[in-house]
Amino acid sequence: MDAQLVAQVVVLAAFYSLVGTGYVLVYRASRVLNLANGELLMLCAYFLFALTVLGRGLLPLMVLLALVLVAVVAGVIYWATIRPMTGHPVFSIVLMTVGLAIVLRGVSELVWTAQARYPLEVLGITNKTLHLPAGAAVTVVEAGAVAAAVLFIGGVIAFLRLARIGMQMRASAEHPVLASQRGVNIHLAFALSWALAAIGAGIAGLAFAANVRLEPNIAEQGLRALAVPLAGGLTSILGTVIASLMVAMSENLAVRYADPLLAGVVPYFIILAFIILRPWGLLGEEEELERV
């Protein structure tokens, strides 16, 4: 395998694992598949675009603000739409996330139009190419996305294991009634899951917008990344990371050695294969799955 192929697999896997971790966080907390995750990815990128008015010197602050904003939006979404549906069938809640996705995309189109935007260029920043050993090349943004994915996923795992509120989140996910009786504010824990998920998707959105382009349709990339948690296990962050590499590798190999058109099909093929053969994924918990 050549160095460029390895670089491309790692970059794409980083993107997928950022989005995929978001699906896992929300699912673990509330057993809900958040189909608006891609729209949160897009929204964060638009927040960055809106903040470019601050000027290029404040880029780190803009990135931070964009992530905070999307986390707040996700928390509010949970509080305003998902929380009142507690106790309702999962099917209704998943449908609610579909509705949310439509609303978020529609609002974005109304506010920012469908025109393609390029946030870095607005700031006059060039996304330079880094030449790696053995002839591979990635951009600064791509390298940054890989580093951000490592930090984010590592940070989330540490947070869930070590931080008090992280442990409360795990407890709420495992047994909400017991956790609630022990004084855990389970809705705060669930809202925090949504916020963390939005931050993961948001980082992916910022990377995509800075590296490729920004337009409402980039939300589709969130749906494409759905293959990752389904393959890795909807309850396993580690499984998501492994599945990210697997899906990214499959996509790249399909393009390289078969047909580029397969790049669009491979993630969905993987979704189908896992739903049929191993519905709980590589490292997911074998649980009773509700048929929708």
Binding site: V103, G106, Q115, A137, V212, E220, N252
Partner: protein, 417 residues
């Protein structure tokens, strides 16, 4: 739960209302044009996977109609333009066309979206004998010598199979010479594939090595693997026949991997802002109208209209839609008053648009449809960013491209101005 669902429902309805709006080209928008309106429908991909191409195109078209109505319409009759959002979905496009014909009594439906939407719209028009004007890649059913009597193609943003990339093929063949390696990209939609396949064969026929790749629709997150194919192929030149979302992303992916070749973009990339954004010697673009940098009379009119009526898009992105408006106005004028669907189809069959007069095309250049040719002529010129003068400059002359058969074309040099 019920309260939440109600809130979501209301928000969705509001959004839908904002999209399927009563258009600004309504008679009430025009104090000067008070007569009965010409009803024109448009099925446009203003949201969905290719919206960044078609939303500004549609906006330019609407802007022209508002501008026309504000000047008194056509002999006192305003144009009532109703735009519906197809989301680039063929079945939605067909259903909306039916609605426009039946509920809005549209004389014609203008289709602004991918080529896959053309035939579903035509299916709705056929029983009514109404003309359909498509503003995307032209298909064989529009080309001479036996076009579908009801189907017409605007030769602005995109051309037909054989004509769309003809000037690009000429340029690359001339500059690259035999043996040069060319990497071509198509989007996985019918017209794009056919256009690029045809260009690949033409380049190979001229002794160049050409390799075509089809990009999935919608394009994946990372076009790097596809770009790598071009680099491994050793491509010195690149081009594509697809909306901006596919071709420009591939060019960027090539650049990210340190590609040193030259990309010659087709007219869907023909906007000043793209050349200004890259400021790169590696990018040349074929424009289907004069770029804003050339400051022609139609640019001044367009800028004034954008100021007067407002637009969410930058002026260069509105040029092609504006030019489409000029075409529709010409057809309605030739139709006269009262105009019905049969008369409009006849007007389209013999349409003559003087695009040279307003500086959309070079002086003297006209678009002419005939009963045997529903694509007509198209004019293209290549432009690039010149780092020395810090501006957009032409690369060579204007080319006039005309179909002589379904996929046979003639390319002639017409003007250096």
């Amino acid at each position: 739960m019920r309260r939440t669902m109600v809130i979501l429902f209301v928000v969705s309805i509001l959004l839908a209302a904002c999209r399927a709006e009563k258009q600004p080209g309504t008679p009430t928008a025009s104090p000067a044009a008070a007569g009965e309106p010409y009803n024109v429908g448009a099925v446009a991909a203003i949201t969905g996977p290719v919206a960044s191409t078609y939303a500004p195109f549609t906006e330019g078209f609407r802007l022209y109609i508002r501008h026309l109505n504000a000047r008194g319409g056509i002999n006192g009759h305003p144009v009532n333009l109703v735009v519906k959002d197809s989301q680039a979905n063929p079945s939605v496009a067909g259903a909306l066309a039916k609605e426009l014909f039946e509920s809005n009594n549209a004389l014609t439906v203008v289709m602004l979206g991918p080529s896959s939407n053309i035939l579903p719209v035509l299916e709705q028009a056929k029983p009514l004998g109404a003309a359909v004007l498509s503003s995307t890649g032209c298909i064989d059913q529009q080309a001479p010598p036996d076009p579908d009597p009801l189907l017409f193609c605007t030769p602005l943003l995109a051309g037909g199979i054989g004509s769309h990339l003809a000037p690009v093929v000429e340029y690359i063949a001339q500059q690259g010479g035999p043996g040069a390696k060319v990497f071509l990209s198509a989007l996985d939609i019918p017209a794009s594939r056919a256009i690029v396949d045809d260009a690949t064969k033409r380049l190979q026929g001229k002794g160049l090595e050409a390799r075509m790749v089809v990009v999935p629709n919608p394009p994946p997150a990372d076009l790097g693997p596809i770009a790598r194919q071009g680099i491994d192929f050793g491509a010195q030149w690149g081009t594509g026949g697809a909306p901006e979302e596919a071709t420009l992303a591939l060019f960027q992916a090539l650049l990210r991997q340190g590609w040193r070749g030259t990309w010659v973009g087709d007219p869907p990339l023909g906007y000043d802002d793209i050349l200004e954004r890259f400021k790169s010697d590696q990018l040349i673009i074929s424009f289907g109208v004069y770029p804003l940098a050339e400051r022609k009379p139609f640019h001044a009119e367009l800028e004034a209209a954008a100021r007067e009526f407002g637009s969410a898009f930058p002026v260069p992105r509105l040029m092609y839609g504006w030019a489409l408006g000029v075409m529709v106005e010409s057809a309605l004028r030739q139709c006269g008053w009262p105009c019905d669907r049969a008369k409009f189809q006849q007007a389209m069959n013999n349409l003559e648009v003087d695009y040279g007069a307003s500086g959309i095309w070079p002086a003297g250049a006209k678009l002419k449809f005939t009963p045997t040719d529903h694509i007509g002529q198209r004019y293209q010129r290549l432009y690039k960013w010149d780092s020395a003068s810090n501006r957009i400059v032409p690369v060579g002359p204007w080319y006039r491209v005309e179909h002589t058969g379904k996929r046979e074309v003639s390319v002639t040099v017409v003007s250096q101005q």
